[in-house]
């Protein structure tokens, strides 16, 4: 007679106890709760800051965006120069960083240099992104401004008839902020554009070479168009970063409450206004600063959401 191994044992327990099952379900719910925390955080930021800004929103309305008066003594506030400065400094940064950033991305995605050298260069570019903003600011004050001031004086003397160069550079100013922002967003543009370029199917490249195209004809006519939306997504993410960047800009822009067409003039951005005034502000001034923060939040939110949509569409292809 064959004895089955389980015959003498206790009957196998087939079901978990309800406690064990409930605990397991509770764990799933717990993780779900933390995941929804992220959505909750975004809404909480908008609501908290919006509620605190409401006295200023009620008092100054949309005029806050278009007038240039920041007067803590009379308690009248508006932030046109800062909004102007935010937009001008970040577009100046894009103007400088986009060509170089895409160039570096092409350099690091093609086989110009052996992979053994390529990897350290990629690491260095990533390190450029990791250096804290305040360190760039320190370097900007003590190295970049003295260098740029002399160069800027030359430009002002020869090209001063152009409105962009119409004032003599005095040290800090919009142009320094644009250049330091360009340095800081370069790694973002490079990293995301490189991902997009590497993702282009190798068959497209082979077909172009097979038809007799040179390397650069292949890059310009095949690879860049195929990677176009990824590159655009990277540029928009960089724009979002540049608009919100605070410390380096605050340290080199001069923090003057004016919107000047000349890039050599001093200016300020929404974030530099917040960094300079928030700790000592009170009453309606805090509320107005919150209003400015909401404007910055909405600006970066729109840019970031558009960038995400573009990048996600690329990933789906």
């Amino acid at each position: 007679m064959v004895v089955s191994p389980n015959q003498n044992n206790e009957p196998m327990q087939r079901h978990r106890s309800s406690l064990s099952r409930n605990l397991d379900a509770a764990f799933v719910w717990l993780t779900g709760g933390f995941a929804s925390l992220i959505a909750f955080l975004l809404i909480a930021i908008a609501i908290r800051v919006g509620v605190d800004a409401s006295p200023a929103i009620a008092k100054f309305g949309l005029g806050f965006l278009f007038e240039s008066r920041w007067d803590p003594v009379k308690d009248i506030y508006s932030a046109f120069p800062q909004i102007y400065g935010t937009i001008v400094s970040s577009f100046l940064a894009l103007l400088l960083a986009v060509p170089v950033g895409i160039g570096v991305a092409i350099f690091l995605s093609e086989d110009f240099i052996p992979e053994k050298i390529q990897r350290p260069v990629i690491f260095l570019v990533e390190l450029l992104a990791a250096i804290p903003s305040v360190v760039y600011g320190l370097w900007g004050i003590f190295v970049l401004i003295p260098v740029l001031r002399d160069m800027g004086k030359g430009v002002h003397q020869s090209l001063g008839w152009l409105p962009f160069f119409s004032t003599s550079p005095s040290g800090p100013g919009m142009y320094v902020a644009g250049i330091i922002l360009a340095i800081m967003i370069l790694p973002i543009i490079t990293a995301i554009s490189r991902d997009a370029l590497v993702a282009v199917p190798i068959e497209l490249r082979q077909a172009a070479y097979g038809l007799g195209a040179t390397r650069w004809e292949t890059i310009f006519k095949i690879i860049l168009p195929a990677a176009f939306s990824g590159v655009i997504g990277g540029i928009m993410l960089a724009l979002g970063r540049a608009m919100g960047e605070t410390m380096a800009v605050t340290m080199v822009i001069g923090n003057a409450n004016k919107a000047s067409i000349s890039l050599f003039d001093q200016g300020s951005t929404v974030s530099s206004l917040l960094a300079n005034q928030f700790a000592e502000a009170s009453g309606l001034q805090v509320s107005s600063l919150m209003y400015a923060a909401i404007v910055l939040f909405v600006l970066t939110l729109v840019v970031n959401i558009l960038a995400q949509v573009v990048v996600q569409r690329v990933n789906r292809i």
Partner: protein, 299 residues
């Protein structure tokens, strides 16, 4: 004559055919090609120059001021000899510690949900989208949020307010990297665990999480590195303090805010201290980047 139809009387051999197929260095197409190659090499050089310049400046200026006193003494008054930023260094460790204590558990639990229990669902892709949007919120706006939520509620600037702001900045980085890390664990590991009768909690805690730990650690280190250099969200949450920290509920000095404050003073000794502080910040960030790279490589 036994020549191919392509050949001319001068080069009747096949060698001549190959020669004519070669690119002429002076033809416009080849010239354009060479010029563009030179341009991208110049671009790469332009990108590296600021990095080298920043690192060189920080090493030269900060290195000369480097000593043990930096970590044991308090910030000096203007135009005096000596002093350090011991309180700010501890303050950075405290605020980043508070931020990590909040963000690491929250982030990893959220990632477990996204990767293990909701993978592929519309909910997961929405939360993934919002995570990316949250990571794009400017750090100064996060500072304003922390000011409104913590400083206004408790009535004082504090290490907790600073740590909370840092946690909000670290959270999306940790969620994103941890979700990607968990997704890399082979499906077979989960199936084997479930086949052995493990509950969902046991599968995650005993099998999936240990397997994904090295890349998760990488993400955590990147988040900690970013947080330790953050300044904007701290200047009006943690504020600053010239003395040793006494607790988490009062204003506290941090290294990054010290660099900002001292870089903008006209006093030489404080500017030097700012450079030394920058060097410490850059070292922390570099060590974290290299360390996280090594973790992944070992795996």
């Amino acid at each position: 004559m036994n020549s191919t139809p392509f050949s001319t009387p001068e080069d009747s051999s096949s060698q001549g055919l190959i020669n004519r197929l070669k690119r002429q260095p002076s033809s416009p197409r080849t010239l354009f090609n060479s010029v563009m190659t030179i341009i991208v090499f110049v671009c790469a050089a332009i990108a590296i120059v600021p990095l080298v310049a920043v690192l060189w400046y920080v090493l030269e200026k900060g290195g000369s001021r480097l000593s043990l006193d930096l970590f044991t003494q308090l910030p000096p008054p203007p135009n005096t000899v000596g002093g350090g930023f011991g309180n700010a260094f501890i303050g950075t460790l405290m605020t980043v510690g508070i931020g990590s204590a909040i963000a690491i558990p929250c982030g990893i639990l959220a990632a477990i949900f996204l990767s293990e229990f909701a993978a592929g669902t519309r909910l997961a892709s929405w939360i993934g989208f919002l995570t990316n949007v949250l990571s794009g919120v400017p750090s100064i706006v996060v500072g304003v949020f922390a000011y409104s939520l913590v400083v206004l509620t408790t009535g004082s600037f504090s290490a907790i307010a600073g740590g909370f702001a840092l946690a909000v900045l670290m959270l999306p980085i940790i969620v994103r990297t941890a979700t990607e890390s968990l997704a890399l664990v082979p499906q077979e590991a989960r199936q084997a665990a479930v086949g052995l009768g493990a509950t969902r909690f046991q599968t995650v805690a005993r099998v999936v999480l240990p397997a994904a730990l090295p890349p998760i650690l990488t993400g955590v280190m990147l988040a900690v590195a970013r947080a330790s250099g953050e300044t904007a969200p701290l200047i009006f949450t943690a504020l600053f303090n010239n003395f040793w920290p006494k607790g988490v509920s009062e204003p506290i000095a941090t290294l990054s805010v010290l660099v900002f404050n001292f870089a903008t003073t006209p006093y030489k000794n404080q500017q030097e201290l700012a450079a030394a502080g920058s060097l410490i910040l850059v070292l922390m960030v570099t060590i974290a980047s290299i360390g996280s790279r090594l973790i992944v490589k070992r795996k």
